[in-house]
Symmetry: C2
Subunit: 185 residues, 2 copies
């Protein structure tokens, strides 16, 4: 009798958790799409940034390009990798909406999502550190604020960070959601 | 009969998962201690870094200190926060070794660990971007490599990154382990 009640309870719990998991899976899919748009936008915005100043002469041309800075090149690469991974993870995310009880594929996603979170967060904040330096300079190291000359360049690189940080927040929520979904099994 | 077999199967599964979860919980505790040591070492190493050059004259003193750079100040704060959080999470981690079936507290830890991972990864890589700049400079922006003058300073700030990156790897593993432990429930 006791075992029967237990099994019945478990089945009732399953019905509840399937419903809850479906909601989580749909939210998971939306967050992935938001993060794809964010990282894609960041990579494109940063990757197409350059500025040539109008006051160049015959010999010297004042030009700033994103790939003058190693950190910005890394930023584009990291955003491209995370964008590609998220696009590839979409089918699995859709599968989770249809089959809410899949646990192994959720663990796979949580592993990859966590690694991508560390990568994306690192890339975004390294770029932010350089953007901060470009805006404010550093008097101790005699690094001048280059934004006074390259205004358009600075606006573009500052703007391209936004998409990346939106994606970081999305991936944090993705990992948390996966954890909550797994706890319901 | 069928429900009985199902319940028996579930109980057998529970016995297995309790054993596996205990191993995971012990590994979780070890990783937390590694991450505490890493972040603590990083915060202290960075926070005590300064260098005064021997060739100063009466009027000008050439000095480099970690808090001349906003990013390094942030690095120390982030490492201190993560170190404090990890120390506070130790009792919960020990609780998981004793009571392997606790699910809610695991979800709480996965949420906080993920946020701390994003924070720590951001702080460490922002500092790494500035350290890279200090070593190599940037010719486009006319930022000189200050490490040629401040060699001790540069060695200290480079070394202090190591503990932080060890902690990043540990926290990535912590989140993944929590996911695996939750999937066994």
């Amino acid at each position: 009798m006791e075992t029967k009640t237990k099994a019945a309870k478990i089945e009732a719990g399953e019905a509840f958790s399937v419903k809850g998991s479906r909601g989580i899976s749909i939210f998971d899919l939306i967050l992935r799409i938001v993060a794809i748009v964010g990282t894609f936008g960041s990579a494109v915005a940063m990757g197409t940034t350059n500025q040539t100043l109008p006051f160049f002469n015959q010999f010297i041309e004042f030009q700033a390009q994103y790939d003058d800075f190693t950190t910005f090149t890394l930023f584009v690469i990291v955003n491209a990798i995370v964008c590609g991974y998220l696009a590839l993870s979409l089918p699995l995310s859709i599968l989770h909406i249809i089959r809410s009880r899949a646990a192994n594929s959720r663990v796979l996603l949580i592993v990859l999502d966590t690694v991508m979170l560390a990568l994306l967060s690192a890339g975004a904040s390294a770029a932010a550190a350089i953007v901060y330096l470009a805006h404010n300079g550093n008097s101790s190291a005699n690094w001048f604020a280059i934004c006074q000359q390259f205004q358009n360049f600075c606006q573009r690189i500052s703007g391209s960070l936004i998409g990346s940080f939106v994606a970081v927040v999305s991936v944090v929520l993705l990992v948390i959601l996966s954890g909550v979904a797994l706890s319901r099994h």
